[in-house]
Amino acid sequence: MNLWRDIKGTLQPFWITLGYLFKKPVTIQYPEEKRTPPPRYRARIVLTRNPDGTERCVACQLCSAACPVDCISMQAAEDDDGRRYASWFRINFARCIFCGLCAEACPTMAIQTTPDYEICNRDVLKLVQEKEDLLIDGCGKDTEYNYYEHSGIGVANERGGNEDEYGPVDPKALVP
């Protein structure tokens, strides 16, 4: 038992905390001062558009399946050209925990997280946002991807018209 060490160990923290008492706090005074979040920060969720301006979301429900708090709901519908899209799409930001799993699950790069973290509102209904609130005019983080160019079922282009496809076969042809 090293008494001297114990006494020192007991008194030293007092000296250190006393020192800290006179240092300038590191707190950022939020409403007056704001910090710039990094670009990949996970805050407000948006729906992006394809490079050609069409909606990227195909309402595949993977985001709502991935969502651990069930804050995303939607209904899929079919357009005249066979394109699947969300007839309505709702995110309840009052429930959202900003985990970003929806953006990770999205196969079409439609749903993305942005650094806009100032979402708070006293009216809960304003936090329940519909497709028109979520949809932005832009591609977000990926400026080139267009899902239907790669899907292989001929919505954006003619059937068999995408670059990695042959044209439709003729099953009644007699060539072996």
Binding site: Q75, I153, V169, D170, P171
Partner: protein, 841 residues
């Protein structure tokens, strides 16, 4: 030693090989052991170090499934059998009678087999096979309806194929329009042949098949057009990936969001197992459930696409009292008090109770209890007199002769008397087809051109002579028949003599009470000690049999109508039935029921009774409640709720997002299960378990009710009903010289109320038509597809002429079609009519 077996082969002495000797020895052993010494072989094999004993004839894939070892596979299906074409179920046979890498579905389990599903070679093969299957598969899972329940997705993950290596171009195909039920996306096809095996082999469809070769294989019809088979929806279930998906369900919901549960189909009396799925307060699809005793693995299109009546926009969801919306409790109280008031004022028999073949068995029992508590003897379970009498006769007569669908599939001789399975119980037609595939024969004795998905002999006879045939067959006395009829009947008698498992099938519409009586008697007379002749009768609804068991000696609805007309019956309680349109003579019913003082209706659809009721109580649709039905063989089966009722979000949101207001209660959630309403009315505040127990206590003949659970094969009730009171002999229909005889029938589509309310099926309903023999059409100077004017005592209507060679010659047939001019053509009776060519103006 084998000297006595010296044989010559092409003039030379045959050299017996060791193998030949072994075969002879085994044959000798088998022959020498008497049959009662051969014990049932139960091979015992080892799969992944676990031992399992299975019945002889089981393949290794099934044996592994017994151990909960899932072997990836596409082409194998229990009902379709194994073909070994997908090469995915490879397993390594380490030791035993078979060795090496084999397809598990193609190898029968044998004693001493040691099998490994995790062998590196087998795993590698599976990985390559799945990679191969995936080479041309598009990357469109996000927009594919199969996503979430895609066997290809699962097998790709299970097979270990993660990263695509093939960098070449993919094959693409053109899609076909396969009609209103099935959506095709041919690019996704992995050529497993399951759709063709289901559609052509199992269901007997002829208009769908496979074209081309190698990587040009295309499945489809010769040209675009709706699939003809009434079982076409089964290829949706069969397809392991998203090539064939449901069109009404297109883009509606992912599997993981769907609330599903085991249910029983409410559309006919066969009691097939179904799995409805619902989301956002609407039933969105129905999948085939598995019940090996009834439907097996498939269901008909009526059952599959007939779910939409629960989401009907006009469905009444609010209790009403004298036209004013009230709470359910208030309406219940009013119903109880007003019924009691009328009963005390005018005597108990002034209140009549009309049950329904589509209410749950529990509710039917409670209606019986209510009638008993009131003291009324006016209790009927079916508004249609003929169907009611048929069901009650069947419930009284049926004993050991009753047959299930599974027994029908094993039958070797099926005789249909006045039964049109595709109209009255489509899955029975599929069972008959399986009987034919197993080597059975089918004979149809019917005035209608009964279409079956199999080969059948057909003898057109007028409906009133069906009973005559049955009696003649039973007594083996065919003298009353004409020569051409007699030849077929004589061969039938011969076949009946040798058949081991014959089944007689009747339909309630044509046979009526007397016909069913004759059918049961014939079966009894034809039965011998060696074999029993089975009977199946198709009734009107899922719980016709249950209602018939409860009817007792009560009157039929026509005599209730008489009493209403006379004024002795002043109040009518309708439990999910529509006496205005379902009675045998709707015109008479509507006239009589106008005299009622009080009409109480419990219903889940907007039928006339619900619209005109003084007191209306909304009930739940089949998929929204728990309960049970007794099917046409007396099988009691339970079903469970899938969703709670409410106005679908599709409607409240008008296609856009759901409204941004919030309520304490769901809009349109007032409907309650029919049995719950009746239990509340009778002050029996019970849950379903307690209710079933109390029914068992009060009605000992329904023992077993409290022990049934959903998703099982159900229990067959041993209870017997009572025969209906003797029927007043109706005068035989005498056709006047000028007029034709018109017979109303149940059509394949459009004749069933619930199915008619379902929009996917309603879209396929035909224009009003009449069916007649081509010769008769020629006599009347009418051509097929021509428009004609049909005149009956109801008035005129315009119909389209259809002809069929198999029709009875002197008869014109017209289907009952709801919400058309043919709505009043209730099956079961003959009318006079005139049919004239439409005059072009």
């Amino acid at each position: 030693m084998f000297q006595f077996l010296r044989l010559e082969y092409k003039g030379l002495p045959y050299r017996w090989t060791q193998h030949d000797k072994r075969i002879v020895f085994y044959v000798f052993l088998r022959v020498s052991v008497p049959p009662w010494r051969i014990d049932l072989k139960m091979p015992k094999l080892t799969i992944d170090n676990l031992e399992v004993t299975v019945p002889d004839g089981t393949n290794v894939l099934e044996a592994a499934r017994e151990l909960d070892i899932v072997i990836p596979h596409f082409c194998y299906h229990e009902a379709l059998g194994s073909v070994g074409s997908c090469r995915l179920c490879a397993m390594m046979f380490v030791d035993g009678p078979v060795k090496g890498l084999q397809m598990a579905c193609m190898v029968q389990a044998q004693d001493g087999m040691v099998v490994s599903s995790t062998d590196p070679d087998a795993m590698e093969l599976r990985e390559h096979v799945i990679e191969w299957a995936m080479t041309n598969h598009p990357h469109d899972c996000p927009v594919c309806d199969e996503g979430g329940e895609c066997q290809l997705q699962e097998m790709t993950v299970a097979g270990g194929h993660g990263v695509r290596r093939y960098r070449g171009k993919k094959c693409t195909f053109t899609n076909q329009d396969l009609g209103p039920f099935v959506q095709q996306e041919m690019n996704r096809c992995i050529t497993c042949y399951r759709c063709v095996r289901t559609y052509r082999d199992y269901c007997g469809g002829t208009d769908y098949g496979v074209f081309g070769s190698r990587n040009r294989i295309q499945y489809g019809r010769f040209q675009d057009g709706a699939l003809e088979s009434p079982f076409s929806g089964n290829i949706i279930d069969a397809c392991p990936t998203g090539v064939l998906t449901s069109k009404p369900f297109r883009f509606k919901t992912r599997l993981w969001d769907l609330q599903e549960g085991p249910s029983i189909c409410p559309h006919c009396s066969l009691g097939c197992a179904t799995i409805p799925g619902g989301r956002y307060r609407e039933i969105q699809r129905v999948k085939a459930g598995i019940n090996r005793e009834t439907n097996g693995f498939f269901i008909c299109d009526r059952g599959r696409f007939g779910y939409d009546h629960a989401n009907h926009p006009e469905r009444p969801r609010q209790a009403r009292l004298d036209g004013q919306p009230v709470t359910v409790d208030a309406a219940l109280l009013a119903a109880r008090e007003q019924v009691a008031a009328i009963a005390s004022k005018h005597g108990p028999d002034s209140v009549a109770f009309l049950g329904s073949p589509r209410s749950s068995f529990e509710a039917s029992v409670l209606l019986h209890d209510w009638a008993k508590a009131t003291g009324s003897l006016q209790l009927v379970y079916e508004a249609h007199q003929g169907r009611d009498r048929a069901a009650r006769t069947l419930a009284a007569r049926l004993g050991k002769q009753v047959r299930s669908q599974e027994e029908l599939r094993q039958s070797d001789l099926v005789i249909l008397f006045g039964a049109d399975p595709l109209a009255e119980g489509p899955m029975l037609a599929l069972a008959i087809r399986q009987a034919v595939r197993n080597g059975g024969k089918v004979v149809v004795i019917d005035p209608r051109p009964v279409a079956l998905p199999c080969v059948a002999k057909h003898l057109p006879l007028p409906p009133e002579r069906l009973s005559e045939v049955l009696m003649a067959l039973g007594k083996n006395d065919l003298n009353a028949f004409e020569a051409d009829e007699r030849s077929l009947l004589e061969s039938l008698v011969e076949q009946l003599k040798v058949a081991q498992r014959p089944v007689l099938i009747g339909g309630a519409d044509l046979l009526g009470g007397q016909g069913v009586q004759a059918l049961c008697s014939a079966a009894e007379q034809l039965s011998s000690e060696q074999r029993s002749v089975g009977v199946i009768t198709m009734l009107a609804g899922p719980n016709s049999y249950g209602g018939a068991l409860l009817s007792g000696h009560g009157p039929d609805f026509d005599s209730v109508l008489d009493a209403v007309q006379e004024g002795t019956v002043r109040a009518l309680v309708c439990l999910e039935s529509d006496p205005f349109r379902e009675a045998r003579d709707p015109a008479r019913a509507q006239a009589a029921l106008g005299h009622l003082e009080l009409l109480v209706s419990f219903d889940s659809t907007a039928n006339l009774a619900a619209q005109r009721a003084d007191i209306f109580l909304p009930t739940r649709a089949n998929a929204e409640m728990a309960g049970s039905y007794v099917n046409n063989e007396g099988r009691l089966q339970a079903f469970l709720p899938v969703i709670d009722p409410g106005v679908p979000i599709r409607e409240t949101g008008a296609g856009n997002h759901p409204p941004r207001e919030f309520f304490q209660t769901t809009p349109g959630s007032a409907p309650e299960a029919d049995w719950l309403l009746l239990a509340g009315l009778l002050d029996r505040k019970l849950n379903l378990v307690e209710l079933r127990e109390s029914i068992e206590r009060d009605h000992p003949q329904f023992a077993g009710l409290s022990s049934i659970t959903a998703e099982t094969t159900g229990v067959r009730l041993t209870a017997r009903g009572d025969l209906p009171p003797a029927e007043e002999q109706e005068l035989p229909h005498a056709a006047t010289a000028e007029a034709l005889t018109l017979m109303a029938i149940t059509g394949q589509v459009g004749s069933r109320w619930l199915a008619h309310l379902s929009s996917p099926l309603a879209a396929t309903e035909p224009q009003p038509y009449v069916l007649l023999h081509p010769e008769l059409a020629a006599e009347l100077n009418l051509a097929t597809d021509e428009r004609a004017r049909l005149t009956t005592h109801f008035g005129h209507c315009h119909v389209i002429i259809r002809t069929d060679e198999k029709m009875l010659k002197g008869l014109v047939m017209v289907p009952q079609l709801w919400d058309t001019a043919l709505e009043g053509m209730v099956p079961g009776g003959l009318l006079d009519c005139r049919l004239e060519k439409e005059v072009q103006r």
